[in-house]
Symmetry: C2
Subunit: 207 residues, 2 copies
């Protein structure tokens, strides 16, 4: 399993500081939605410049204007861009095409998607499906995982985000996620390197 560090609600400078502290333990840097909405593409460009060899996911959460947004974010330096599963299938198909054109990855965020929509999203076999408990809901990750995996457990590439703690990492590994996305459990911890190291040991390195 890979460890993705989500960095949110800080300045670009602070984001770079946080990533520097965690860098050796993480597989993917996530530039959180708040960084993009606060600072625009500059956030992606500057973090790409600082970390030229690291995989970067830009959590742009596209829901429309897919060609424009995905072209812009890949050109800014993202390796993986996100689209909402709640978007129209037309929008997600455009994301898929732009990803193929740039030979980049795309992740479909399952935030608030219905079981019916989740089944439809399984057609995007070259994407990554992300089971995502919203930050605005504080509990219920385990139940969300169970109800979502009922539809998509056999999908090739799965990620999980929202409320992941050292205590529930064993459950994530059991469920066969490729990527565990961790935010404030690392970024708001007393020691960022220590907590990143702990999570890295729990994900168990690359598959």
């Amino acid at each position: 399993m890979k460890l993705q560090l989500a960095v949110d609600r800080v300045s670009i400078e602070k984001a770079i500081e946080i990533i520097c502290e965690a860098e050796q333990y993480i597989d993917i840097i996530e530039i959180g939605t708040s960084l993009i909405k606060d600072f625009g593409l500059e956030s992606v460009k500057r973090i790409r410049q600082k970390f030229p060899d690291k995989v970067i996911l830009a959590d742009i959460k596209t829901v429309d204007e897919a060609e424009y947004e995905f072209e812009a974010i890949y050109r800014a330096g993202a390796d993986i861009a996100t689209v909402l599963g709640a978007a129209s299938l037309e929008t997600i198909r455009i994301c898929q095409k732009v990803a193929q054109k740039y030979q980049k990855d795309y992740m479909i965020d399952l935030l608030e998607t219905s079981p019916e929509k989740q089944l439809e999203l399984k057609q995007f076999t070259d994407g990554i499906l992300c089971v995502h408990l919203p930050s605005d809901k504080s509990t219920g990750l385990q139940a969300l995982i169970e109800s979502t995996l009922a539809q998509i457990h056999d999908f090739p590439r799965l990620a999980v985000a929202g409320g992941i703690k050292p205590e529930n990492m064993a459950e994530m590994k059991k469920a066969n996620f490729e990527i565990a996305i961790v935010g404030s459990s690392i970024t708001k911890s007393a020691s960022i390197p220590e907590s990143a190291k702990l999570f890295k040991s729990l994900v168990g390195g690359e598959e």
Copy 2:
């Protein structure tokens, strides 16, 4: 009916130029999602500074992290902020609370919402519901309006966006929308002031 001009996919400088040309004919300036994702809150701050007395909607399309995003966007100068109807009810309730705290407006974008969700969204009686045909779908506005109004025709404040042209403005007025949102039909026209003036005459001024 009010006329809202959506400005998208240009630099902040170009956005200001476009708005200057249309200013006298429009009621609401919309800072499009692409401006926020390209340039961050700076887009809102600079357009607010240039147009201190105009109503500004920031199309931030919040779907999570509602308190953080709505606080930031109102502080940057927006009078109206948008949240996706596809977000969780928890998220939308937070948007409502932040709007009340700042005595600002909020718009719920019905993009890709189910009829069931549209009925649930009628609880947000102090918000504005926006019937929205995605840009990534090129046709079907009239059918979308009909199927959506079947649920929400009696909601106090309604807006409509996506594919509005001079030819279908009569239909929008008949359906009793408070706000008609027009983008490229004005911004990409041969003469921005002429097309803004035409739309203004068709919306018929303030209700």
